[in-house]
């Protein structure tokens, strides 16, 4: 380790590489600048580093033998446990060894272990269906503590695996979490029950959504491309999903909702198996099954019938249109009531 620089190793296993690609889109500042400012030195990254083949293996060997100190180990992608616990669904190229074993050994050397993206955190999309490949996260298997490193895992500072959720992650979530770790300022209290920083999971996707007014009046979109709230019919899970997606823009100005499609709660364990088609809200007796996490059902029913009855025409019509067709009316100056 040179001076105060913190060494970071990034590995990829059962994922799509999309978390790295999201990271590359970081702006104000870019990710290289953010890492530099945080004193993070990238020892090796599979998509970014010059070193290949033997040069890359040598870096990993040096960490394992203690010649290089590893401050932060990041994994992107799920851990591949199958078939039959052998890990052969991902043998690390050039090593003849299951990737899961290499990750487990490196985790014992790292001062902090980070799961980047919902795959590495919980298993994610790779576990879809019957999880035939037996993928899991570093510290979780879906909602269950455990995963590759076991339920009791803690690093030397007492932190569990720090999970940056999302499929993909927002670039800022990565740069900010890693900077906080690098500065030695991440405490166990900063994390929620799933090891996610409260900085990410303390906000719901619903917060700041441009469709909030439609939500309040239960003025709902019925088909994709309509601008009403997507909770009642189109499967939107924004009220239950971690993330400041509608307060922190993606790629300049975007979010799933602003793109016209529902939140699928990709920051939550188990998002890949919602138990219903992603873009269709399951209902019992006409009432959506997945209600806001902390709202009693009776309230919701009462509130929503009340607000539906009171829905202004503007919202009722706009909700089922692909653009605003009825504009808000302004009061003229000087007119009172």
């Amino acid at each position: 380790m040179s001076g105060n620089r913190k060494n970071l190793l990034w590995l990829q296993s059962g994922g799509c590489g999309g978390c790295t690609l999201s990271l590359i889109c970081a702006e104000s500042p870019g990710f290289l600048t953010a890492f530099e400012a945080a004193g993070i030195n990238i020892l090796w990254h599979p998509a970014l580093s010059l070193e290949t083949g033997r040069e890359a293996s040598a870096i990993i060997d040096d960490i394992l033998s203690g010649r290089i100190l590893l401050d932060i180990l990041c994994l992107e992608g799920s851990v591949m446990m199958g078939p039959n616990g052998s890990g052969r669904f991902h043998m690390m190229a050039g090593s003849g060894e299951p990737m899961k074993d290499i990750i487990a050994r490196l985790a014992t050397k790292a001062r902090h272990v980070v799961g980047v993206g919902s795959c590495a955190a919980f298993g994610g999309i790779t576990t879809t269906g019957d999880n035939a490949v037996k993928a899991c996260g570093l510290g979780f298997d879906g909602e269950l503590k455990g995963g590759l490193l076991g339920a009791g895992f803690a690093d030397e500072s007492g932190l569990p695996v720090v999970n940056i959720p999302g499929c993909p992650v927002h670039p800022d979530w990565v740069t900010q979490t890693l900077s906080q770790l690098s500065a030695g300022e991440m405490r166990p209290d900063d994390l929620d029950e799933f090891g996610r920083p409260h900085a990410i999971s303390g906000t719901l996707v619903h917060h700041g959504c441009s469709r909030n007014e439609f939500y309040e009046y239960k003025a709902s979109a019925t088909r994709l491309c309509e601008i009403g709230c997507m909770m009642e019919n189109l499967g939107c899970k924004g009220t239950q999903a971690a993330g400041d997606c509608n307060k922190r823009a993606w790629n300049g100005s975007g979010s799933c909702i602003s793109g016209g499609y529902p939140c699928i709660a990709c920051t939550e364990p188990g998002f890949e198996e919602p138990g219903h088609p992603f873009v269709q809200t399951p209902k019992i007796a006409g009432i959506p099954v997945g209600l806001p996490t902390d709202m009693p059902k009776a309230w919701f029913v009462a509130l929503s019938s009340l607000s539906k009855a009171a829905t202004p025409k503007r919202l009722r019509q706009n909700a089922v249109s692909d653009r605003v067709v009825v504009f808000p009316k302004r009061k003229k100056k000087g007119s009172h009531r």
Partner: protein
Amino acid sequence: MSRLVVGPFNRVEGDLEVRLEVDGDHVQSARVVSPLYRGFEGMLRGKDPRDALVISPRICGICSVSQSISAAEALAAAQGIKPLPNGQLVTNLVHATENVSDHLTHFYMFFMPDFTRDIYAGKPWHSAVASRFAAMKGTATQDMLPPRAEFMHIVGLLAGKWPHTMSLQPGGVTRVVAPHEVQHLRALLSSFRRYLERFVFGGPLEAFAEIDSLAALANWASRKAGDLSTFLQISRDLGLETLGHAGDRFLSFGGYAHENGHLFTRGLSLGDVPQKLNTGLISEDISNAWMQGAGPARHPFDGETLPDGDMESGYTWCKAPRLEGLPAEVGALARQVVARHPLALEMVANGGNVEARIVARFLEIALLVPQMERWLSKIRPDDAFITHADMPDHAEGAGLVEAARGALGHWLKVENGKIANYQIIAPTTWNFSPRDASGQPGPLEQALVAAPVQKGETDPVSVQHIVRSFDPCMVCTVH
């Protein structure tokens, strides 16, 4: 004869191992290993067909939009619909943004850093190249990342985010584009064009796109402006135009659909000679893949993906796609040869090669950015952007598109309203396929034969240039 195992072979998307038999100073034969299996085809079975638009993009973070569009086309074919014109235009804009940005990522982050290696320290160009193209630290990456990120605002605006949007649907897109947004997109494009012309091409995009001969290309390089001419000079010094020949059977599914076909045509070319393409004659051979199953290679509509956990016979998780029983090279070069761009045709006259694969990507950037400006002006903001249709209980459909790295196909069968079979062949599945039943190597395996190996090299640099010239995407390859 000696053996070399090169891996982890990085600066490719995903994990890759290359096994070489070396005879003195050159590669005698190569085997390409895709070491990761996730099993998307199995995950999709039994799902609501619409779920393919959530699950399949997550095959790949670098060509996620291409996966979405393939899935959307397969669903549309099964439903018997086509996207509305506005929907198609927005789809093309989002797709072109991903593809152009992938070409840049490949050149600056994956391909060029190899020329900064110490093995080239004696070259007159080395020190300038080392400071410009050093991995992560070079000025070129620092110049490229901000305009690339800003260019991606096009996807942010039109499709919510990148990667993994759900805005691209069978009947169009989930978001309308207002007139003021068209203007904003135009401004983003002109900002990006300014970067490209100044740093990358060193001249107007249209002028580069019009280059129609190797002589004119050499002329462009001799002006010594832009990173592309730096590459061309290195390439001529190292002879990259003679490296990495792969059989010259070029396949393209056609890029960027419009009402009567594609901007870049669909087809097959043997060298520069066009051939008839029958996509019904595509099959996947599993003789050397760690897959269970027997019998002849199958068309993807009837394909199976049953991993063999014992990994008994074979050497990779990748199946071997073949067209009429023969391998095919896919990618930007194949696309431009099939589209009969005069420069692409001349570049393959003596066989496809490393340099040609790189130049073809720049041809596409130079063709696509002005095309994006034209697509923008065709959007009719007052009209609808999507049409909806129900999925029949029983149907099938294929979605054949061109990802940055080449031909991508999704083949879908729906039974009782659920996905009964879903098969995917990705570009790198074609390029990095293993040997088939008759022992024919895949394109990369062919391209590596005769690659020079210098004394003492364990990860031969020529092999690195050849492998990365394909811009492989390993997460797609096996999926």
